[in-house]
Symmetry: C2
Subunit: 414 residues, 2 copies
């Protein structure tokens, strides 16, 4: 009942990845396919053509999510879903998202080529705007579909040019007729690059993803007083950057105390007025903590608040800390996770359990459909970067595990 | 031979300051008169009208510097100069620069009203682009005039829109016929707000400025590796911001060790890519040290380099530090400084010696003409800020000292 004699075509999968990477290719060898941009639309069109050629029918929902359906022997059975996303960061890599979509396409092609029928239908999904690089919120399409993100709120999100997500869907012609809400589905499998160094360091080929980390995001504003750098003596300074620098180091310290599971990042920081000879009067920065445990991120955020407030008091600064959002830890479905584990074992691929540090469409989908993810290593753990890199064999190994898991759920006929 | 019965008209001076502040007025009560903007040109036109009404002839040089000449009994004598600048920061105050120009105008009006003749001519100067807010370099007009700044280099400086200083001079119609180079002058006096808190804290009305601080400006670039905030464990991070934060604190520490004379500022800092969920791969920031002693700023900069390099090595970051420029300490002319001291004493105004922490046109002019400056306090030491504030009586006191000093050099006839 498993994949048996079926084999992933490593060269075909790689060629498809490279062809997709030509759309929005950047001078440094990465891709720029911002959600609903001309490049994204070109990628979506290519995806639809490839899926139709693989014998699927493609439908699009009101959030722009694309579902390529390969009919099952019993069309009434809930489909087995697989997928990921084709949009990218502004200076993104060739594999983040694209690997999961095109490995799913390779699964469909293998089945078509071998004339394999499955009991349940299989649907390959390209979720709209996973990256969040354009409208400031990640995993929009899967969030709307899974009811984890209010559709009206999502459609009102604006990009830097002031265009809303809703208007961009229409302008691009990406809005479809199907309702953007969950339909009965058997399961969901998503293959993705790890985007971190853990598998590579451990020398494992496959990550059996047991769930996703809890996240807690904060925004801090530090107010001092902007004054002249040449005329203001030390005792009269209220330097917002001097205070913010101490707070950045507090985030580092809190992260390190959680050991190798610790994640604490100040990723964006803006200094105002930002002139070389003006003592900064205001600094705004983001903080995010992640951990497999929600209790740990809550405690980390609490400790950061306390330390930052103490620093602000010492430096005579005002401080406001706003919680932007929390994402609870999302465990994946044990039965689906077990299928990934079994598939890796059957294929003789070294594997280890791992918790996803990044958000993924699967995290939203898991709220309504039994889900699991498969990770493959990427060079130096590098992602969200044009230099993101994997080997063809790694892509094929991940696709082989995906094929096994999907076939096990969908049920091979005969 | 002094000012004798002559009295500054406090209300008239204040009214002129307030009328000038209407040009480019900002919602928060400051001014925006960027050099060679429409607002600056309107301010310059008003200045010319007022000077002509006060019996002066106005000439403009090739750098846009405006000289309003009140003829002396002996036109062949080198004129006594006074002045400052009418351009402002983007969110500047009403007094930075304007006080020195309009106090000079008040001096001319007092002399005209009383029919006082002087031996030497008196010239009131409005220097072009003191602030440096538009073309990225401060004290351009006085720098060109005094030969401290190469005219060709200055004219090639570009604003954010790509327009050069030279093109902006022509576009605004601000370029005059007189050559922009030093002519024989007896002396130069510049009244300015302190732009710091020292006089106010000491409860003194007048600052006898003995010279200007040495400055040394650096630009630092810290390179780490941008990577995913959720997937990169502490041991794999090369966080450019974590390193830069420690470097910012090193600047603070080095500044504080110089006591109340210490000046060390990181005013601009940019984080790349600047996304909440990406560990910063690059941080660029400015550093400037100032001190009355050149040896001290050189030692501070050397220590900063050493500490920053040690931090970069510890944090596995690359670091480049570039010296942008040094401005040597500029002592003012002892005889001119003595006239300021004497004038304050004669007027019964509390005074103290002070070193200018800011750059001023007088610092350039002092290289070719015996010069001195007069400071008056400003509220909370606040400047380069729309909330910059002084009292009418403080403006008048400063103008009275200026009148005494200028008359002492120009020689009252009869």
């Amino acid at each position: 009942m498993g994949a048996g004699n079926l084999r992933i075509n490593e060269a075909r999968l790689w060629d498809s990845l490279m062809e997709m990477a030509q759309i929005g290719t950047t001078p440094k060898g990465g891709v720029k396919r911002l959600a609903l941009s001309a490049e994204d639309m070109a990628g979506r069109a290519l995806f639809a053509r490839w899926c139709e050629a693989a014998g699927c029918t493609v439908r699009v929902d009101a959030a722009g999510n694309m579902f390529a359906r390969r009919e099952g022997r019993d069309p009434s059975r809930p489909p087995v879903l697989m997928g990921s996303h084709l949009d990218s960061q502004p200076t993104g890599g060739r594999f983040d998202g694209a690997l999961g979509v095109l490995a799913g396409l390779e699964v469909l092609r293998v089945l078509q080529e071998a004339g394999v029928e499955t009991e349940a239908p299989i649907e390959l999904v390209n979720w709209t705007d996973e990256e969040g690089a354009r409208f400031g919120r990640a995993m929009i399409g899967s969030g709307i579909w899974a009811g984890q993100l209010d559709a009206a709120e999502a459609k009102a999100l604006r990009d830097a040019g002031g265009m809303t997500f809703g208007a961009a869907l229409d302008a691009a012609g990406a809005r479809g007729d199907a309702p953007a809400r969950p339909f009965p589905a058997d399961s969901y499998f998503e293959l993705h690059i790890e985007q971190g160094p853990i598998l590579e360091r451990a020398g494992r080929r496959i990550g059996i993803v047991t769930g996703a980390q809890a996240q807690l995001w904060l925004r801090a504003t530090v107010i001092g007083r902007d004054s002249h750098a040449g005329t203001t003596p030390p005792s009269a300074r209220r330097d917002a950057l001097a205070g913010a620098a101490r707070m950045v180091l507090a985030v580092q310290r809190i992260m390190r105390e959680a050991g190798e599971d610790g994640r604490g990042t100040v990723g964006a920081l803006t200094v105002l007025p930002g002139s070389p000879n003006v003592i900064p009067g205001e600094v705004r920065f983001t903080v995010e903590f992640r951990n497999p445990s929600e209790a740990v991120v809550a405690a980390q955020a609490g400790r950061f608040r306390a330390e930052a407030e103490a620093i602000a008091a010492e430096e005579r600064l005002e401080l406001a800390i706003e919680e932007r959002f929390r994402i609870p830890a999302q465990p994946f479905d044990p039965a689906c996770v077990a299928l990934v584990r079994d598939a890796a074992a059957r294929l003789g691929l070294s594997a280890m359990e791992i918790v996803s540090g990044a958000g993924h469409d699967a995290v939203h989908v898991a709220a309504v459909v039994p889900s699991a993810m498969i990770f493959v290593p990427c060079r130096d753990g590098l992602s969200h970067n044009e230099a993101e890199s994997i080997e063809p064999g790694e892509a094929a190994d991940g696709a082989a595990v995906l094929l096994e898991a999907v076939l096990a759920r969908a049920g091979r006929v005969g």
